[in-house]
């Protein structure tokens, strides 16, 4: 499996995606800084405390990488079907299930690692900025940080699973754009924020979506050995 993942990553030049996710991180940090700076100029209080600031950062990152995952799914899976290169792949003496699982694992792991890493990077950057610019009135406490870290990891786990849901829609007509559009709907569900109330904060919602994501993956590979690859 590890070898399949490695091959798959080489084949699709994953290095390029790592680079673009780094750039994304910088942009998110830039946006956060810009918001803080502009609001500060106007004398308004942007973030009441660190909890609010970090949650905003976490939400933006999550939204970004749900869509990023959809892009990966469309490149790694949907496009293989669309270009029929899947017929090449499925003529190898390798279990078809393993081939697809390898691809989906890349998406899940990439999403998880990136969400966690981005939170550390952007959060850290914001903390440094705050030391100089005094954006947030209160101070970051160790317990606050601990609590936030736990929620970041839990959310990252749920998000990396639910990011597989677009696979279902994309596979119906082998369309990359459908995949990405359906990921935007997921973002609308889990990343909206109405005066501090988010659907994502109802534990039931992210967990259900994550389970649906896992089921999507299961459905995609369940029948793969018995089905015609092309019609």
């Amino acid at each position: 499996m590890l070898k399949l993942i490695k091959l798959e990553m080489k084949k699709f030049k994953m290095g390029g995606y790592v680079r673009s996710s780094l750039i994304t991180n910088v942009i998110i940090l830039g946006v956060i800084c810009l918001i803080s700076y502009v609001e500060n100029l106007e004398g308004a209080v942007v973030f009441e405390d660190y909890a609010v600031a970090l949650q905003l950062i976490e939400t933006i990152i999550r939204a970004t990488f749900i869509i990023f995952a959809a892009v990966l799914i469309s490149r790694l899976v949907i496009n293989e079907y669309k270009n029929k290169s899947i017929t090449v792949l499925f003529m190898y003496p390798i279990n078809r299930k393993s081939l697809i699982i390898a691809k989906l694992l890349i998406v899940v792991i990439f999403t998880f690692v990136n969400i966690v890493a981005a939170n550390i990077f952007v959060g850290g950057g914001f903390y440094l900025l705050d030391q100089f610019a005094q954006i947030v009135p209160d101070q970051l406490t160790l317990s606050g940080l601990g609590k936030h870290s736990a929620s970041v990891v839990m959310n990252a786990l749920a998000t990396s699973c639910m990011s597989l849901i677009p696979l279902y829609f994309g596979m119906r007509k082998f369309s990359g754009s459908t995949t990405i559009i359906s990921s935007i709907f997921i973002v609308l569900i889990v990343c909206q924020d109405m005066n501090g109330f988010t659907l994502n904060s109802i534990v039931f919602v992210p967990i259900t979506l994550a389970v649906i994501g896992a089921i999507t993956a299961y459905l995609a590979i369940r029948n793969i050995e018995n089905k015609d690859v092309i019609h």
Partner: protein
């Protein structure tokens, strides 16, 4: 005799329509099996079923003496294939494509890639992306990919599509070499009959999803008769002359100018002389061998010979 591929009552139905019905094919070890049939006859579907890309609705496939099932992954490693259009990862170079292919096939031989590219005469393609290849180049690369792992069975669907005449000859020689030197069994389909005729040991003719005939090329060659082909200005008169003056009955009118005379008892000079004496203008005369093409067309027309 060992069979590499055997199908029994192989059937495939798409939406209620039988595209392949009850095909019993037998491909012997080491032979080149030519697969003939008009477009849409079911050749590609059968080849896809042999490579497990499409699952049969009925019947069985036996590969290397083993029944092909949904889990027969190990069998896939023993064959090389081109099915229909040669498909690659377009954003990678030819070499990278072959490297990945070898990795997935579990084949590790550093020289193999260059050797394969040499065999199909693909040169100076090191840094070129497959996206920029012409169809002929892709076809060559496809053949390189199929043979690189030195498979026991080659399944080639229209492998000479898009190749120029020189290319066709090179590839034909390559197939002959693979068959003769390495004992590779080859299943090759083509709609260019002349090609199949030159390399196949056995041919299978398929039409409307049914295997009409499976016959050794030698048998067809034996059946071949020589004939003389006339192009005249007046067909009706020529027929009259042949029938009533020369007393020849074994001839065939191909179209309203072309007549083939199969009877060899009357020499060509005699026929020509009689034609001329009867004011028939002969535009051309050829002595010919009935080829696979005739055999093929006869089969597809249901064996009806028009006189």
């Amino acid at each position: 005799m060992t069979y590499i591929v055997r199908t029994t009552q192989l059937t495939k139905t798409y939406m209620g329509k039988e595209v392949v019905s009850n095909v019993n094919m037998n491909i012997k070890k080491g032979e080149i099996y030519g697969f003939l049939g008009p477009n849409g006859a079911g050749k590609t579907t059968i080849m896809r079923m042999i490579t497990n890309l499409v699952k049969p609705t009925g019947g069985e496939i036996e590969l290397f003496g083993e029944k092909l099932t949904n889990h027969s992954y190990h069998l896939l490693g023993r064959m090389g294939t081109i099915i229909e259009y040669p498909i690659f990862y377009e954003k990678l170079t030819a070499k990278k494509n072959l490297e990945f292919h070898c990795e997935y096939m579990g084949f590790h031989e550093s020289k193999a890639i260059d050797e394969a590219l040499d065999l199909v005469h693909l040169k100076n393609v090191d840094d070129k992306l497959v996206k920029e290849f012409s169809l002929g180049m892709k076809q060559r690369l496809g053949i390189a990919r199929a043979i690189i792992t030195k498979p026991e069975l080659l399944i080639l669907d229209e492998p000479i599509n898009g190749l120029d005449p020189v290319g066709i000859k090179e590839i034909r020689d390559l197939f002959k070499l693979l068959s003769a030197e390495y004992g590779v069994t080859i299943l090759i389909s083509s709609h260019i009959l002349g090609e199949i005729e030159q390399i196949a040991d056995t041919i299978g003719v398929i039409n409307h999803g049914k295997l009409i005939e499976e016959v050794a090329m030698e048998q067809i060659r034996e059946k071949n008769t020589e004939f003389i082909e006339f192009v005249t200005n007046d067909c009706r008169k020529s027929v009259f002359v042949l029938e009533h003056i020369l007393k020849i009955t074994n001839f065939r009118v191909i179209d309203n100018r072309l007549i083939r005379v199969y009877d060899s008892s009357v020499p060509q000079s005699e026929i020509t002389k009689t034609f001329v004496l009867n004011d028939i203008i002969i535009e051309s005369i050829h002595k010919k061998n009935s080829s696979l093409e005739d055999h093929f067309l006869t089969l597809l027309n249901g064996g009806g010979i028009s006189a």
